[in-house]
Symmetry: C2
Subunit: 212 residues, 2 copies
Amino acid sequence: MAADVVTAFEPRKMPIQTRATVTVGAICEATIQVLLSHGADRLTTTRVADRAGVSVGTLYQYYPNKRSLLFAVFEDHMEKASQAVEVACADACHKPMSEMIRRVVEAFVDVKMQRADISIALYKVAPDVGGPALVKRTGQRLRKAIEAMLLTAPDLKLSPDRFAIDMMLSAMSGAMRSALEAGASPAMFRKVREHLVLLCQSYMAAATASDN
Amino acid sequence: MAADVVTAFEPRKMPIQTRATVTVGAICEATIQVLLSHGADRLTTTRVADRAGVSVGTLYQYYPNKRSLLFAVFEDHMEKASQAVEVACADACHKPMSEMIRRVVEAFVDVKMQRADISIALYKVAPDVGGPALVKRTGQRLRKAIEAMLLTAPDLKLSPDRFAIDMMLSAMSGAMRSALEAGASPAMFRKVREHLVLLCQSYMAAATASDN
DNA sequence: TCCAAACCTGAAGAATCCTTCATCCAATAT
DNA sequence: ATATTGGATGAAGGATTCTTCAGGTTTGGA
């Protein structure tokens, strides 16, 4: 079942010449733009192709159908966000726990903010593209990275609760989502970042203290 | 602009006879079902009507277009959720702050869980129906209720930060969303509820202590 | 009983959209 | 120079969907 989905979403062909690489890049970028300007339900393959400056046929040379295009853009974004967090996790090993949390949260907020347009655009299609499934997978991946990092914390006696990490991650994405969809200003984002750090720090402290 | 949207979404006619009331109820319920079984992009007015046991024409007698139907269902759900939280806020006045938070969080989790199917279904259409705007409005409404409640807390010296409340609310909805979309079991929901209380309590304590 | 208002029906018009494929252009290797 | 592979085109087929409306059925009061 999952295999079918993946197969159906798999790109049809990889670009070889540089010309084609540019084309594929333009198509992905155009997808974001159309999503932002027209919304998910009025995103058509023709519109995306027009916006990218190519013809529809070209689009279908790389993606077997509309959903696979959306999925590819979505997956790419999640991949980049995951990597940013994983790097932060690796860098924060052996630091005090509150410092770890701070770095992870800041990395997450920053990578989401850096291309806020993509984040916002993708919120609009996630449901139609197996978003929840991909989000779940990414969540597990991030949880492992955070778990590994926390095990190296010098000031942490109890083993960290898996569930608490999931909780923290979902709270993080919830907070970022509403900030992004509200069209928050850069100043506002700094405040969100600050408070999100506080939120995660105080929760993780409480969760590791009174364990069950 | 906002007026246009509201106008375009406004129901076309209110049911008068009980027969019609039943019909409208069936249509709304069918909308949820179709959303769950077919997804947002394959929800058609005909399918909804079939599922409701009426003809398409009947549907268009009450809703001027597809979006207005989706919007109505969405709005109704938000209204109920808001009321549940507001009641909890009213009941928790003059209690200690941690008790206030506990009640609000539990009310929120419970009302979302009670009809988890609706919550999940609506996540799929929110983007196409002015979801963010409605969510924003509801958020402000809830923030006011919580703010008013917190002002009556005997153990709270500093005036509560508006921003912190927004933060708490978005974290709450994020956590609930991922639990719902993951198809969490009742046991899992109890745990989520427990931890979400802890998360909000520890955050609010921290936010009201070190203020800026 | 009888009528007007409320309600329901569902075929069909009109519009939109996804996807294909026959055909042509460009790049690269031989 | 030529063959081969990669890349691009866009009109058109096929399918789906939204929405209407002319005409039928049910309800409730006079």
